[in-house]
Amino acid sequence: MPDATGLELIAHELRESEGDEAVRETSFFRGRGAIEIAPERIRAVLAHLRERGFAFLASVHGVDYYPHEPRLGVHYELLDMARVDRITVKLRVPTDAPEVASVTADIPADAPGGPQRGWLTADHQEREIYDMFGVVFQGHPDLRRILMPEDYEGHPQRRDFPVGGEPVAFTYNERDALGPM
């Protein structure tokens, strides 16, 4: 695990290479370091950490920080298999503009920020966050709902989405529950 000092060193490196505003905050909690970054720098930060050895993207997951603003968070759990080291990269976006660059696809050499390898594993996980929280991943090759039905309205994992309260469609009430066929 990077200790608190190691985490500050990584944050310092990121500030040097990506600019001061790229890293917003570092936190060290229960033996695990986390860096909160500016959402628009996610590709550059992950590419930098990959160079440092954090080459395995273990998990991408969404969080809703309701009632705090900006509400939606996306977490990237990175793993360095050689040093058995983990670090979390976090970013926050507001609900009225929930847009983050997707890290799934490769960036070609002629595009800004390229060439850069993508993280194939993020494909399904970004789709899940889009489905559950409504975070739009720009540049994702196939951003569709993954667990909920395609015609579903709303993003059920948001904290202000009610538990239950959805009509169950039986034969006798299917027209009311599902609308005109």
Binding site: R32, E77, L147, P149, P156
Partner: protein, 438 residues
Amino acid sequence: MSPPTLPPSTPTEQPTTGPTPSLSEYRQREQSITLAPVTQQIVERNAGDTSEELLTLNFGPHHPATHGVLRLLVTLQGEIVRDIKPIIGYVHTGIEKTAEDKAYWKVIPVVERMDYLSYYFNAMAFCGAVEKLVEVDVPKRAQYLRVIHLELNRIASHLIWLGTSALDLGAVSIFLYCLRERELILDLFEMSSGARMHTRYFQVGGVIEDIPAGFEGKVREFLKIMPKRADEYGAILNANEIVLQRLRGTCPLDADTLLSLGVSGPLLRAAGNPWDLRKADPYSSYDDFQFKIPVGTVGDNYDRFAVRLAEIYESVHIIEQALDGLPEGPHITTDRKVALPPRHELATSMEALIHHFKLVTEGFRVPPGEVYHPIESPRGELGCFVRSDGSSKPARVHMRDPSFVNLQALSHMAEGSYIADMIATTAMLDPILGGIDR
């Protein structure tokens, strides 16, 4: 969701102009889905030769070879798989949402039902995450009891995988043999916790109760039987020409591609990367035990099969050591703020009664923070992310389920192979749809 529109009874009743206006927006969008880009790619790959006809096959969701309700949209060129699109979500039950509405100790039964073959692992990931947040120490005896149950569960999970995979390859009798041994394990679970599946045995801070008298003897009996039976499975399958032909050299994938796809567990080890969280980042006293990590060489279906079969022996080995070294002491933390007081104290101690009442009605409060706790499940890295806002209910529970992530590797493995090899690969992938859809 919506029932299909019935065809009109007589053709004359059909409206004659334009697309049927009565279709819902969903149905219209569904009809608009095409596979044109895929078809175009394949035509380009064949240098403009369009003589080969493409067939799009809807494989599942109700098909015995999909190991659950997995639906695969497979594009075939003759017998060769050209494109696989997994469609999931058929058993999505919103467990992560449900968990946000429950006190921490009541979340354990719901997360256990995610990956329904490795329920101890789900509970372990969640309890481990909460223990990190609360900073509670788990007694050594509880850690050993957890290891015993986790490894028994790993064997049970691998037995189901072996049985169903062999079934997919045409060997029917193996399935019955595997379930026979799994039954012995479920009997052991019933003995220690009262339930055969979804046992709720792991609690935050330890295990719910100590193992009963005679449990150790029963486990040792099982440990004598299991390696012999695993030998038999190996002897049956490794001497079967059909099984070997269908596994050897089919659908290999190298370790680098697997890593970029986020694949972990036996699939990664089959490709020669000895990554195992039990060794690399030991939790729950795994560093006390000696065991080997089986690895494959080329990462084909046979390696995936061989690695899992070898893991059964290693699990047996771990359980033996845990039984031999099982320390005395409490089976759950003595911190009354987190764990229920023993039953007999309730009659004599007012404080115990208060703690009991607080825990059962409200549950314990957890300091605010976010943790991610990864463990090695039978299918790979099972990570549990828990965010606490300081109340007695979690603000977010997320499982990084290995089946969900590993499923992405299926198209990379099976594209360009025969459809029969795709079936074998799906079996060797060992996806559990309860874990994928959560």
